[in-house]
Amino acid sequence: MDSINILTFFVLAVFVGFEVVSKVSSTLHTPLMSGANAIHGIILVGAIIVAGHAESAGILILALLAVLMATVNLVGGFVVTDRMLEMFSGKKKASEGAQK
């Protein structure tokens, strides 16, 4: 990838990142942080590439450590965010039930 393409991607992604979260209520700060946290677990893709190209046992072990850490970040991040948000939707159902 040439550097001008990279710069284009980077600048556009910065603006999108700013834009999508600009109006968020404080109620959702915690789930949003947790969800964003899960997204950077995508470093797993990088860890897989490095582990898949490893030539020596030492490098492989280090790379697999990175795979492990990234998996925990990615999978755990999405699961814990879902659990938080499950309670929000559960609350909605409970109040709907109360109205009936």
């Binding site: 942080m33 470093i43 797993l44």
Partner: protein, 457 residues
Amino acid sequence: MSLISVEVEALLYLFAAVCFIMALKGLSSPKSARRGNLIGALGALVGIATVFLAEELRNVGWILLVIGVGTLISVPASRMVKMTQMPQLVALFNGVGGGAAAIVALLELRAADTPGFLIAVAFTIFIGSISFSGSVITFAKLQEMMTTRPVIFAGQRYVMIILSVLALAGAVLVVLDGNLVIATLLLVVGLVMGLLLVLPVGGADVPIVISLLNAMTGLAVAASGLVLGNTLLLVGGTLVGASGTILTRAMASAMGRSVNNIIFGAFKGGSTAGSTEVSDRPVKSGSAEDVAILLGYAQKVIVVPGYGLAVAQAQHTMYELAKALEAKGIEVVFGIHPVAGRMPGHMNVLLAEANVPYEVLQEMDEVNPQFKTADVCLVVGANDVVNPSAKTTPGSPIYGMPILDAGDAKQVVFLKRSMRPGFAGIENELLYEPNTTLLFGDAKETLSKVLSAVKAL
């Protein structure tokens, strides 16, 4: 030999990146939040599948095995963690992500040849390791494995300056030379700096630091995408870096803090002094029956729940008490401080868990004018969020943080475990006011006593 063409690979990564954008967008509104998170997970799944199809990989068996192990560790951990302990789990997840980015960059050093790539490698190693060690310390602070008060030692500022110079010099050498030993040293310097950056941060500011470290990990991941020439890492990491920065600022302003003050405040010294000592000044303590009478003959009660309520798992009992009071025709409102609990919005999650209906939860701006007309303000396991020193004492660590004006109510009742100060480690003047009654004990136990006393009235 790869199974899919470069074009298909790029399209799949584009799809995954769009999923991430939709995920962040979805998470910004209550209705679409859960779906947003699932879309994000779908994007990640597509991204992972693509890398297996597109790259010529060795050791695939090992990689799949380790991914399996990681999943087996993290799923039960995230499903079983108590909701009160969720902030430190998020901090830990963030830390391991940063650590993974640093390792990836370190291993890619040999492949990087142009200065641009080498700069990205040095950046990822440094930022990733700061994020890792910083997150581990925030975890330890939130888990109360160490003191929640700022840890400051003489000359900390000079140590930081020396380390910064070392890091810069190390980064320059890595870029000029691509030397693995120096890159490893850079990693170590990053780890130490992460430690020293977070140690001086006071307990109440820890959530903001988690958010900041989250944004930093995002940037480290983006830079590693640059190193590997992978668009998904670049876009995903940048999105988190940018949105995390905005989120950090939003959180800080909800607490009336500036990010600079939180990170560098302690180094200036003086202002963050707190106390964990138990004061022996006289307070008025009452029995569960006294409190029941105060509540039972009130017309309007405002409940201010705090972390102590959640720790005691007293949300359900609290809600039952509120229902019992409402049955007597008493108006009950919950005043939720934006940072009640340990993170912004944390208390809403905790109360939602106890099925407390959304309508009775009122945000700070709505509830503050109502304290003047309230007969009783019942503060359950909260302290810092009603501490008037945030308004009156400029030297206080929480000075400037917006608070709930509990002191405006005719009577204030504190349910507390002890006279120990709150998470920020500062004395609360409100406890010594003549119209304040204290009821000591575990929140769940005392609340059920108050509940049966109210029913007996």
